[in-house]
């Protein structure tokens, strides 16, 4: 009986989702964005693969993850940022504004059950919106393209968590705000805030950069690079769940404002605690086929033997490309194998009004077990050699071959325009019309 009643509620939420114009419009727009991303990606990939008798790039540099999957699924990052939150907001705000919430709150289910059905329906709606993206995968395979299952599944997981976060934020904002428009402003404010954090924290280190690692854009980026980090998954899940719990707290209109405020404060402390604890989790898996997030196997084995803490002091400004190079090619990988690792960023901006002229600019200081050494190189092998030297470890043999073959493919995006620009929108409109009858 309880299950039947829950299923009734679930079916009601699905009906509400399917009667939402925002949802159908999102589906149409997502299809067009995916189509554009896919067609452009296929053409670019074909060019660098030597299409039209042009020079081919090094095959090792051609990975479908970077060349096809990420640009195609980039549409979903845009949708999760600018479209999906409004679908989530509508699912709650309409019931608040129309008075339906007063009936809903009196139905036999618990408020947690009611919010859970909304969450389930939103997740299903998000996965349904993946159809064009999955169609792009299928098309790529029919062209003879290569897909590496672990990195593809990891990318999907990233987009799943990104959608879940948008749904949590949207539902939470709708429950907190008086109207749908206020909830939209709250959601957009949060999004712009995370963009600003991303921008400001780049290459600055410290708490700000640690926080910036978990903005939706940064979190998704690690999945796009084939890296599955446990801390990212835990933080994204905690924040998403937090949004849904905020909704359960604030939709309970029978509780006084003070109690709801106290419950929210307790929740914020709890979610912050989970995020701080989660951020300390160091487990990560490099699921990329070309092991882009890992050092050579021999280096990794040697680095894992080092137990003395390493401190790096980097005198490079955030806008300096050498810092980006160091971050992307060395520090990111070091964090996965070397614990504990402390990185201090010293230099400020070197351009414009705030130009600084530190004597040490460009230096990278390595400190381990009381010994210090300085170098200016950001090349992976040089940095590792400095670490081995400080740790008194021999440099391992790096003669192993990189066996990633690369997957060049010069094809035309056959049928793609027809599917994404005609068949998909027509299917969406037809389904909308059929469901409205």
């Amino acid at each position: 009986m309880r299950l039947r009643s829950f299923l009734q509620l679930l079916s009601k939420e699905f009906r509400e989702l399917f009667s939402s114009r925002a949802f159908w419009i999102m589906l149409i727009i997502v299809g067009a964005l995916v189509g554009h991303g896919f067609i452009t990606a296929i053409e670019t990939y074909a060019e660098v693969s030597g299409n039209g008798n042009g020079p081919a790039a090094l095959p090792q540099g051609l990975t479908p993850l970077d060349g096809i999957l990420v640009p195609t699924w980039g549409a979903y990052d845009l949708a999760a940022t600018l479209l999906f939150p409004f679908v989530a907001i509508r699912l709650v705000a309409t019931e608040k504004e129309s008075g339906a919430l007063k009936l809903l709150l009196q139905l036999p289910h618990s408020l947690v059950g009611k919010v859970s059905t909304k969450a389930l329906v939103l997740i299903s709606g998000w996965v349904l919106a993946w159809l064009p993206g999955l169609a792009a995968f299928a098309l790529w395979k029919t062209y003879g393209g290569h897909l590496y299952t672990p990195e593809t599944a990891n990318l999907l997981l990233g987009h799943f968590l990104r959608g879940l976060l948008s749904a949590g934020v949207g539902v939470g904002a709708a429950a907190l705000a008086e109207s749908a428009s206020s909830a939209a402003i709250v959601t957009l404010g949060l999004t712009v805030g995370t963009w600003a954090l991303d921008f400001i924290a780049a290459g600055r280190g410290g708490l700000l950069q640690q926080l910036a690692n978990y903005t939706p854009t940064a979190a998704l980026r690690s999945f796009e690079q084939g890296l599955l980090r446990l801390n990212t998954v835990v933080v994204m899940l905690a924040l998403s769940l937090g949004g849904f719990v905020v909704a359960a707290i604030w939709l309970h209109t029978g509780r006084s404002f003070r109690i709801r405020l106290l419950a929210t404060a307790a929740l914020v402390v709890m979610v912050a605690g989970v995020c701080v604890a989660g951020a300390r989790l160091r487990s990560s898996w490099d699921l990329s086929e070309n092991r882009r997030n890992s050092f050579y196997v021999a280096d990794e084995a040697a680095l894992r033997k080092i137990s003395v803490p390493l401190k790096l002091t980097v005198f490079l400004a955030p806008e300096d490309p050498r810092l980006t190079d160091l971050e992307q090619t060395v520090i990111k990988k070091l964090r996965r194998v070397l614990t504990p690792l402390q990185v201090d960023y010293i230099a400020n901006g070197r351009t414009g009004l705030f130009e600084s002229s530190e004597d040490h600019y460009g230096e990278i200081w390595y400190e381990m077990g009381g010994r210090k050494v300085m170098d200016r190189s950001t090349i992976e092998e040089v940095v590792l050699d400095q670490i081995y030297q400080l740790a008194g470890e021999p440099t391992p043999d790096r003669s192993e071959a990189n066996d990633f073959p690369g997957y060049p493919l010069a094809v035309q995006p056959r049928m793609a325009a027809l599917i994404f620009y005609l068949i998909w929108p027509l299917t969406v409109v037809l389904s909308w019309w059929l469901l409205r009858r």
């Binding site: 509400e16 019931e95 129309s98 008075g99 339906a100 139905l107 029978g254 109690i259």
Partner: protein
């Protein structure tokens, strides 16, 4: 076997107080609802009728007071097990059809198809079954909301302005449906601002003015409270406020 003690009071409200900021919307409101009666909550616009109903239903928090159901204290979250409140002027699920809304409530509460069919004719819902809720007139919406309420199983039903927006014939039909429901053992509490309607359908009345209960009882009892020998509800209300 009836698990509840045999008492004539189904619901006892004592000292209910609700403030919005510094403004007292309900001040020390107390009254009883007796088993199987139709109790009218009478008061002008702004008297606090809707706020009182929402506090009783647990949709709004109270600042003071308690609500007992069959002599047992009810917390706000337990209220939905004992009573169901039908708000006035709501347009729920505007994109869904009348038929869907009726079936949704019927299935959620495990009511029989016969029970649903029994409501369709007197409330004239058959003719609008396929319409979307957002396209209904005020009266049609009111009839549908009433049907949804009658599909709920709670022993006490709170109806906010059930005759508002209904024409003469519809009002008469709804009144007889309300009386039938009470005759079947269900208790109803109606908030009404039209005194004529209240006098015709209610067994007893609670008069609310500026968030305070100024009288409670049958017409005769209220007349006595107002020290009047004759006169209708209008005179009684004016004398007591």
């Amino acid at each position: 076997m009836n698990p509840y003690p045999v008492v004539s009071e189904l619901l006892t409200v004592k000292g209910l107080t609700k403030k919005f900021g510094a403004r007292h919307v309900l001040s020390d409101v107390s009254f009883n609802v007796r088993f199987g009666e139709v109790l009218g909550l009478i008061g002008p616009n702004g008297a606090g009728k809707t706020t009182l109903f929402e506090c009783l239903a647990g949709l709004l928090s109270c600042d003071a007071g308690n609500v007992k159901f069959r002599e047992t204290n009810l917390t706000a979250s337990q209220r939905k097990e004992s009573l169901f409140y039908l708000p006035d002027a709501i347009v729920p699920w505007a994109e869904q059809s009348v038929k869907w809304a009726l079936h949704f409530f019927q299935r959620i509460y495990g009511q029989s198809q016969a029970r649903l069919l029994k409501l369709l004719v007197p409330l004239r819902l058959e003719e609008i079954e396929r319409s979307r809720l957002g396209t209904l007139s005020k009266g049609e919406r009111k009839r549908l909301i009433l049907a949804l309420g009658l599909l709920t199983p709670q022993p006490l039903l709170l109806l906010d302005e059930p005759f508002d927006g209904l024409d003469l014939r519809q009002t008469r039909d709804v009144m007889s449906l309300v009386r039938e429901e009470a005759a079947s053992g269900r208790t109803l509490m109606l908030s009404i601002h039209q005194l004529v309607d209240a006098g015709r359908v209610c067994d007893r009345l609670v008069l609310l003015s500026d968030g305070r209960t100024v009288g409670e009882g049958t017409l005769t009892e209220l007349r006595a409270q107002a020290n009047l020998t004759e006169g209708g509800l209008e005179e009684i209300f004016l004398a007591l406020t």
